[in-house]
Every structure is written in structure tokens, then in C-alpha cells.
């Protein structure tokens, strides 16, 4: 279920070419990692409008930092780390806590048009946005980007046991919120 990234040899070629100043290679690389950057930004901020800006900023920083990237290492964790840090800074710069996404309130109109979500998808996104940042991140990494909990733990700088516990708690919380409009199903889930 991981997001598509260039295979390692292609990734190496693109990075090397981009470092040499090949704009086409840099653009190809940018397009390849762009969805991952946006999703990490959204997971960290929980706010599509904030994540929209943070992703742009993160992507430019990634490209600027490319000369420092170690080609012997995988690209994904490096990209995610930069995206995560930029998004965290964006989140921390906002005054006061970021309001949870409500279906009618987010995203900003321009982004809303581009996303073109139906009601069910909006509602699911609102449920996701109401989780804590750590819960969103661990779900994004493990359930959407295909990392094992131990890999996510290493990336987030937490113990593997903590990552597993957080993932389970996050899934349970997300499902309670996803089923909020179905009290009958929610009750049978809670009864377990």
C-alpha cells in the first residue's frame, strides 16, 4: 500500500542528475515524492489549508537539501523527515491550537474545489483530523505508506512498543469517529 516512489536505481539516477543541475530530473523527483510530502504535512498539521502551504515549503527545502542526501540510503525516510519538520514548524507557528477540521469548515475554498470531495470523504477526513498529531502520523506511516510499526518507530524516534500501542489506539479512535453517525455499529464495536 506504500506510495509509489522511484525504484532505487531510478531514484539514484534522478537525485544524481538533479544535483548536477538537471531541472527535468529535479521536477521528476519532485513529482514522485510530492504526494508523500503532502500527506505527511496533512498528517502532522491535521489542517488541509495549513498542510497545503507546508507541503510547498517542504518540497522546496527538499530540493535545496538534495546535495546533502546520502545516495546509499532510502529516499523516503529522508523526505518524510524534512516534510514532518517543516509541517511541525508550520503547525507551531499558528497561534493557539489548530481547530480540528470540520466537514463544512475546511479546506479553504480554492483547495476545496480542487479536492472535490463527496460528503462521505469529507466526513472521514474530519474524523482523521480530529485525532492527535501523533495518531495521524502513525496511521499515515503504517496504514497508508506501508511502514511496519518498527520502521515507523525508528522514523518517529519512539520505542517500537510505543509505536505499536499508539497505532492500535489511533486505529481504535479513528474507527470510533468514523462510525459516529452509526450508533448501532459503534455500540457493537465498543462492546468487544
Amino acid at each position: 500500500m506504500g506510495l509509489p516512489l522511484p525504484v532505487p536505481t531510478e531514484q539514484t539516477r534522478l537525485v544524481e542528475a538533479a544535483r548536477e543541475g538537471d531541472r527535468t530530473a529535479a521536477d521528476d523527483l519532485s513529482r514522485a515524492v510530492w504526494p508523500m510530502v503532502r500527506r505527511i504535512a496533512l498528517a502532522v498539521t491535521g489542517n488541509p489549508t495549513l498542510a497545503d502551504d507546508a507541503a510547498q515549503d517542504a518540497m522546496l527545502r527538499i530540493l535545496r537539501a538534495l546535495p546533502a542526501f546520502d545516495l546509499s540510503r532510502p529516499l523516503g525516510p529522508w523526505v518524510r523527515t524534512i516534510a514532518r519538520n517543516v509541517a511541525k514548524n508550520a503547525r507551531d507557528r499558528t497561534e493557539g491550537p489548530v481547530e480540528p477540521a470540520a466537514p463544512e469548515a475546511v479546506p479553504a475554498p480554492d483547495l476545496e474545489r480542487r479536492m472535490d470531495l463527496d460528503a462521505a470523504a469529507r466526513s472521514a477526513l474530519a474524523a482523521f483530523s480530529e485525532l492527535t498529531p501523533r495518531q495521524r502520523e502513525i496511521i499515515e506511516l503504517c496504514d497508508h505508506q506501508g511502514l511496519a510499526p518498527t520502521e515507523a518507530a525508528a522514523e518517529l524516534g519512539i520505542a517500537p512498543g510505543t509505536a505499536r500501542a499508539t497505532l492500535h489506539a489511533a486505529r481504535a479512535e479513528l474507527r470510533r469517529r468514523l462510525l459516529a453517525d452509526r450508533p448501532d455499529l459503534l455500540a457493537s464495536l465498543r462492546d468487544a
Partner: protein, 260 residues
């Protein structure tokens, strides 16, 4: 597998694991619950994919090859200045204050804003310093005020002695301020035990999960930063290309965690 076990799994299993639950083939109620959950997950997947695809990737700028691989390296002097700045910010900039000469002994070094303001100017009296020194072995705050005062008064010997004492206190409490280790290690690079610093970092990294959530990330990043700085110092003093490569790798690992 029973209904109860299945529903417990439905709370925490991954969507793939849910699809593979054998009980769902034989229980309509559990299957309905699983189907509803999976449908909601699919809604979320659509929303996240729509967000990911909502804008084009930004156009790249011309990339300049790195011609300064040690861009992050700072001199000990600049690090000390940074340490002092950080301490100043931590304590806050307040108006100057002169302690009354006839203050009662119990109030000589009460940790007030006014005392901190005097420390920021390096104007603590001998009596106040002695009073804080007496507290320092058990008080991180007292040590921090003394650190600021020593820096502001340009008393380098005192600064190092206080920082070392504070670290000893923290070691006893089992809660080391890695930033302070970093600053002390870089205070006098001629005598620093860089190998020991790196060994210490390597020993500490497997245990960062023991730190509380609210400080773990900052401290872990500090560990990476400390190892990078120590590695650079070793590489500077050596002609070994392998050491230089290792130092560069540590630097990259630090920058990946802390790209700012």
C-alpha cells in the same frame, strides 16, 4: 474465532488484516460491521488521495551542488554565543535590578525575576552567588541563573564549573540535559574527549524511547547534533578519509532530523 475476538480485532487491526479475518465469512453481523469500517476507511483514502493530488508539485529551482559540506559546522565561540543566547531567551529579558544591600539572608538568592534580571547583566553580588552556589547542588534553576550570570560577566572558568556541576546533578537525577552536555563538550575543544562523546551518544540512542514524549524528539535531535559535532572535531584532527566520511554521515543524519 468468536464474535468477541473478531470485534476486538476490528478495533485495532489494519484494513488488510480485517479483510483476512476468517470469522467474517461465517457471521453476517460481524461482516456488516467490518464492511462498514472498511467503507469508511475507503472514504478516508479517497479524501487523502484527493488532498495529495490537489496541487501540482512546485517547479524546482536550479540546484547548486554542495560546495560547503561542513556548512553546519560552527566554531566553539559561536556555539558558546548560541548557548548564552539560548540561556538569555530561556530566562527572558527583564529590566535591570540591583539587589538591596540589606536584604534578609533568606531572600538574598530567592529565585525571582529580579534576580534573573541581575544575572542577565552579570551583576549578581558575591553574597547572591554564594547563596545560589549553596542551592546549586539540588537546584537546576539556581545553576541556570548562575550560568547566565557567569556568561554575562565573562567568567569562563565559573561558567564551565557551574555547567559541570549541573550535569553532575542531572546525572544523579537520571535526566540529562543533552543541550548542556553539547555546550560543555564544545566549551574547550582542545581538551574534549570526542571519542567519549560519540560513545556516549551511541550508548544513549537505543534508549531514547525511555524519555517522556514531550522532550524525546528535542533531546534525540540534540544527541544527533552532538555526535555530528564530535565527529567533525575528530575528522578535523585526522587525515583518515573513513573518519571524514563517517563524520559527514553523522552530520547528514543530524540534518535529516533537524533540517532547520
Amino acid at each position: 474465532m468468536s464474535c468477541e475476538e473478531t470485534r476486538r480485532a476490528l478495533q485495532t487491526a489494519s484494513p488488510e488484516e480485517i479483510r483476512a479475518l476468517p470469522h467474517l465469512a461465517e457471521c453476517a453481523d460481524c461482516r456488516a460491521l467490518a464492511d462498514a469500517l472498511l467503507a469508511r476507511h475507503a472514504d478516508l483514502d479517497r479524501a487523502l488521495a484527493a488532498f495529495a493530488d490537489a496541487r501540482e508539485a512546485p517547479q524546482s529551482e536550479p540546484i547548486r551542488p554542495a560546495n560547503r559540506p561542513w556548512r553546519w559546522r560552527m566554531t566553539p565561540t559561536s556555539l558558546i554565543l548560541a548557548a548564552a543566547t539560548a540561556a538569555t531567551v530561556a530566562l527572558g529579558v527583564r529590566t535591570a535590578w540591583t539587589p538591596p544591600a540589606n536584604a534578609p539572608a533568606s531572600e538574598i538568592c530567592a529565585l525571582t525575576d529580579a534576580l534573573e534580571a541581575a544575572a542577565l547583566e552579570g551583576r549578581l553580588t558575591d553574597a547572591q552567588i554564594a547563596c545560589l552556589e549553596a542551592k546549586g547542588d539540588g537546584s537546576s534553576k539556581a545553576n541556570r541563573v548562575l550560568l547566565v550570570n557567569a556568561w554575562s560577566a565573562d567568567d569562563q572558568e565559573a561558567w564551565r564549573a557551574i555547567a559541570t556541576r549541573e550535569l553532575d546533578r542531572e546525572r544523579r537525577d537520571g535526566d540529562i540535559d543533552v543541550d548542556l552536555v553539547y555546550k560543555v563538550a564544545l566549551w574547550d575543544s582542545r581538551h574534549a574527549d570526542w571519542d567519549g562523546v560519540i560513545r556516549g551518544v551511541e550508548d544513549a540512542l537505543p534508549h531514547v524511547g525511555d524519555w517522556p514524549d514531550d522532550v524525546r524528539e528535542k533531546r534525540t535531535t540534540s544527541l544527533y547534533k552532538l555526535r555530528a559535532a564530535a565527529g567533525a572535531k575528530l575528522a578535523e584532527a585526522s587525515d583518515d578519509p573513513a573518519l571524514a566520511e563517517q563524520a559527514a554521515r553523522w552530520a547528514r543524519e543530524w540534518r535529516e532530523r533537524d533540517p532547520e
